[in-house]
Structures are given as structure tokens and as C-alpha cells.
Symmetry: C2
Subunit: 212 residues, 2 copies
């Protein structure tokens, strides 16, 4: 079923989570689910869920619920999980290696095609299916392979410079782990900053609340 | 200045981000900032910021703005940055090592006191200031050191079991990187699940939007 109206930004923000839960249900063999069951799982109100998923047309039917596989596929298409955006990781320290090996890029619309580091001592080391390349190869690699997304796992001080170099090389999007709030003054460049420390602070606050 | 009223959950969610921005301003030597300047930095409306920060009493003054250091300290105290909750990391693979070495626990109310792995081959290896311990030491370690928070960097299949073991040993909070939506059926246990894949999917969607 096609979506006729553009989906609002606030709904978009929740889509990855819907996609994840629906994927788990699908893997368990669940064929359909009511908005009430989904609301119990996801800790959202049933009316919020109905409102969000109404954007995608008539999946929910009274007394039947949502078709899990169909809704999962539709949300996946909206998110772009079939896009296969060519992706490179910059920085092959512990963090870059962890991202390159723990994240399933291919199910999230990305294809990991390279990992780079400035340390010549680790050039050639294997990380997952890839061998670490030296950053001096970036220009020739990007001209040939045309990556679209870069994952930045490098120190804060180097981030702005490498980001600008990558924009010049045609990169369009940054998944930024560098503790540096990247602000690139180019049109049509997207940045997703990951602030793991904010998540830890939230946990600290909640731990303080329960331990008194 | 003391807060008299409890702070709402939606404000609490934004506090780590305020704390981060105010910390950066403080480090740059900024003494005060208007809600308009803060709103430009944080991409929130000035009225949203005024409303949020009003919870903490009279920091904002017409024509003067907020006292950066004072507001930073107050928000830090609410979050519990002085708590020093004893924290252990379970799993010393790339991800566990990256978390243990990249995250500044001490500025976020935590003190990292141990890292554990089930692989005897890496027992004793150094990660930051710590040596990897074997998970069989968990019981004696926890009895002696009484950690409060555990960071879970282990495979999905092992998460529920190790979490239950840790709850029995007195752990109160989990920072969970395991791709497993931890639901612990205990009162007074808090869990912060980190879903890096959701962040990547958001980036994929935004990349799709700009690349057409």
C-alpha cells in the first residue's frame, strides 16, 4: 500500500523503533498484532500507535490488527533499508572496530565498503571482512568507489578537518561518534551525532532516583 | 539555588544535552548566555528553553541571561554527576573496550572499577587503567566492591542470564548495548538500552531524503 501524504518528522523519529519491534515479531512468526499489544511492548499509548501507523494507510483493521510482515516492509521502504548506501568508517581503533563489526549495516540500508586509519602500523589489519586502509588512500578510494556515508570514530580535534575533506570527496552523510558537534556549512549534508555520554547521564539520574 | 518542585520527565530527558552544551560554554570561558543564543546552539525554541530552565529557579534574568557556571553546576547536581556510582563493564571485546576507554565515566557520576569477560585467553589484558577479569570472579568481586551499574557489551543470547546474575549480586542499573531488549522483572532496577542501529536507520532515512 502506498503512502500518499508525507510522513511528519515526529513520526519519522519513531519509525526505527517500530521497524525494530516489528522485525522481532516477524522473526518470531507473529502474523498480526493489535495496537494494544504493540503499545504494551513499546510503552506507547495504543492511540499514539494508531495515529502514527495511520500514516501508512489501511493496515490496521478493527478486530484484526496489523499485518506484521506488511507493515514491517512498508516502514522499511520508507526508511530506505533497500538503499545500500556505500559507507566507510574513519578510525580503526576500538570504537571503529566495534562499529564495523557489531552493527549490521546491510539491514539498515548501508553497505560497509572501507575502513581507514591514520596509523600506518595498523594498515592492512583485518576488521570483519575489510582490511584497514591508510587515510592517504581516501582520495583515490572515494573517486573510484563513491561512498555516500562516513562513520566518524576519530578524536574530536581531527573531526572538522576530516569531515570537510570528505565533503569535498562527495560524501553526503556523517554518523558522528567523535564527541565533536559537527556543523558542516554545506547544503545537503546530513549529520547524525551519537552522544553516548548523554545516555549514561540519563542512567545516572535514574540510578540516583532509585538508590535515593 | 534549590529546586522546590520535582522536575518533569520530559525536562529530565533534555537535561544531559543542556549539561553538555553548558559545559562546552563554560570551558570556552563564557560567563553568561541568553535563552536566544542557547536556542540557536541547541536548535530548540527560546521559549522552550526558558520554560525548561525555569524549573531551576531564578537563573535567567531579563537583559542578563543565564549564569553558565551556576546553571551547569545545578543541572549536574540534579543529574547526579557527583554520585560516583561504582560501575563494571561486562564483555571486553571491541565494544566493551571502546566503551571503557572512550567514555568519561567520572564526569557522569560513575566510577569504572572493573571489566569482565568469559574468555580466559584475555584475562589479565589491560584496558585503560583496568585489567580484564574472568566472569567467574564476578561473585567475589561484587560482594567486596559492591558495584551499582553494569555496562553490558555481550552477545544477545547471554544478556538475560548475566543480567539476572548481576541483579542477584546487588546491581541496580544496566547500560545495555547487547541488542537485547532487557526486561528485568525486579522492582527498582533501571535499564537504559542503547540502540545504535536506530540511529543509523535515522541517518539512512535522512540520506535518502537528500539524495532523492
Amino acid at each position: 500500500m502506498k503512502t500518499n501524504n508525507p510522513v511528519s518528522a515526529s513520526v519519522i523519529k519513531r519509525l526505527p523503533r517500530y521497524y525494530r519491534f516489528l522485525g522481532e515479531l516477524k522473526n518470531k512468526g507473529t502474523l498480526r498484532i493489535s495496537s494494544r499489544e504493540l503499545s504494551d511492548m513499546m510503552k506507547l499509548t495504543a492511540s499514539q500507535i494508531r495515529q502514527d501507523l495511520n500514516c501508512f494507510g489501511g493496515f490496521g483493521q478493527q478486530g484484526y490488527g496489523y499485518n506484521v510482515a506488511q507493515l514491517h516492509a512498508e516502514i522499511g521502504q520508507i526508511l530506505g533499508v533497500d538503499k545500500g548506501f556505500r559507507t566507510i568508517v574513519i578510525g580503526a581503533g576500538n570504537l571503529g572496530r566495534a562499529i564495523a563489526t557489531h552493527i549490521n549495516f546491510s539491514t539498515r540500508g548501508c553497505e560497509l565498503i572501507g575502513i581507514f586509519d591514520r596509523d600506518p602500523a595498523i594498515t592492512g589489519e583485518q576488521v570483519g571482512d575489510l582490511n584497514v586502509r591508510h587515510v592517504s588512500e581516501l582520495e583515490s578510494f572515494c573517486r573510484q568507489k563513491k561512498p555516500v556515508i562516513a562513520v566518524l570514530c576519530i578524536p574530536k580535534a581531527e573531526t572538522q578537518e576530516i569531515a570537510e575533506r570528505l565533503v569535498t570527496l562527495g560524501l553526503k552523510a556523517f554518523w558522528n561518534y567523535s564527541h565533536y558537534d559537527l556543523s558542516i556549512d554545506y547544503e545537503d549534508i546530513v549529520v547524525e551525532n551519537v552522544h553516548l555520554g548523554d545516555s549514561l547521564l540519563t542512567l545516572t539520574y535514574r540510578t540516583k532516583e532509585i538508590t535515593g
